[in-house]
């Protein structure tokens, strides 16, 4: 092997001979959620491919050099859009929940896992408008 790949792979991070396949755990999570939703019949694979390529096209038009490193960013945006369009979880729900996680992350003591507290979720940030 050439040794050009990063050497800081997390133990559970999928990778192959040329380096990590997912660079960060969230990429794997986004990937797996998409597959599960597809397998459960919430969208066809053609619908997914079209959502993803639309996202990539839009990103390129916005100036993304699109070198493969932003791939799962596009993937995530496409998943959010498709989930909203299919009525699985609205944009409002998604934004409110993201904010709830942000607050939870800020409040969690350092070194402890971040938990989405029910009070935070239902309280000041969880209400959708």
């Amino acid at each position: 092997m050439t040794g050009t790949g990063p050497t800081c792979l997390l133990p559970l991070q999928p990778h192959d001979a040329e380096g990590p396949v997912f660079r960060e755990p969230w990429e794997a999570q986004a990937f797996a959620m998409t597959l599960r939703l597809h397998e459960a019949g919430h969208f066809t694979w053609a619908e997914w491919a079209s959502a993803l390529s639309a996202q990539i096209t839009a990103a390129q038009a916005a100036g993304d050099p699109d070198l493969g490193d932003t791939y799962y960013t596009h993937w995530l945006a496409a998943l959010e859009a498709l989930v909203a369009r299919k009525g699985i979880a609205s944009r409002t729900e998604q934004v409110a929940r993201k904010e709830a996680w942000r607050v939870a992350a800020e409040r969690a003591p350092h070194g402890e896992p971040i938990a989405l507290d029910a009070a935070i979720r239902a309280g000041e940030v969880g209400r959708d408008g």
Partner: protein, 210 residues
Amino acid sequence: MSEHDHHHDHDHDHPRLTDAELRVRALESLLVEKGLVDRPALDALIDLYETKVGPRNGAQVVARAWIDPAYKAWLLRDATAAIAEMGFRGRQGEDMVALENTPGVHNMVVCTLCSCYPWTVLGLPPVWYKSAPYRSRAVIEPRAVLAEFGVVLPEETEVRVWDSTAELRYLVLPMRPEGTAGMDVEQLAELVTRDSMIGTGVARRPGDAS
């Protein structure tokens, strides 16, 4: 209480979670609550693609085709069925086509639109496969791209570039290397690299560094 005078020196301003991490957590927690996904299933999927698929499935298919002419003929005629027979089934219901490399024809695969990829046999796509330069240049100047991968073909070899779609994925059947006459399937599979099955590489020769 004043808001700004409790300044800490450690990186308080750095978010604990990135924007993408927050969005993934948001989606995941919503989907779990709605009963649409569950975490063990997500973890199982990630584990599957991490340890059980990889390019090894594809290598098994190629090695068998090298050894078994009847299987090879079936693979080239109906790759979806021949690959499924080995237990590797597409998760997206896509059809597979196997492309045989010969001294006269070298096949390479791209997805110009996004990054459709035969996960069932090759695991997850490498970063370069997903990059815009590969996606566009593979079609425009395949020989230059191949040279960057260290593959220099004779002038007379025709290069064919195949564009994947959501419904159709390609597996390149690389040429069997010389000096492998007595080898069994397991030994041969070791020589089949991922890139050789995308067409941006050739199979290793016995004794080549892995």
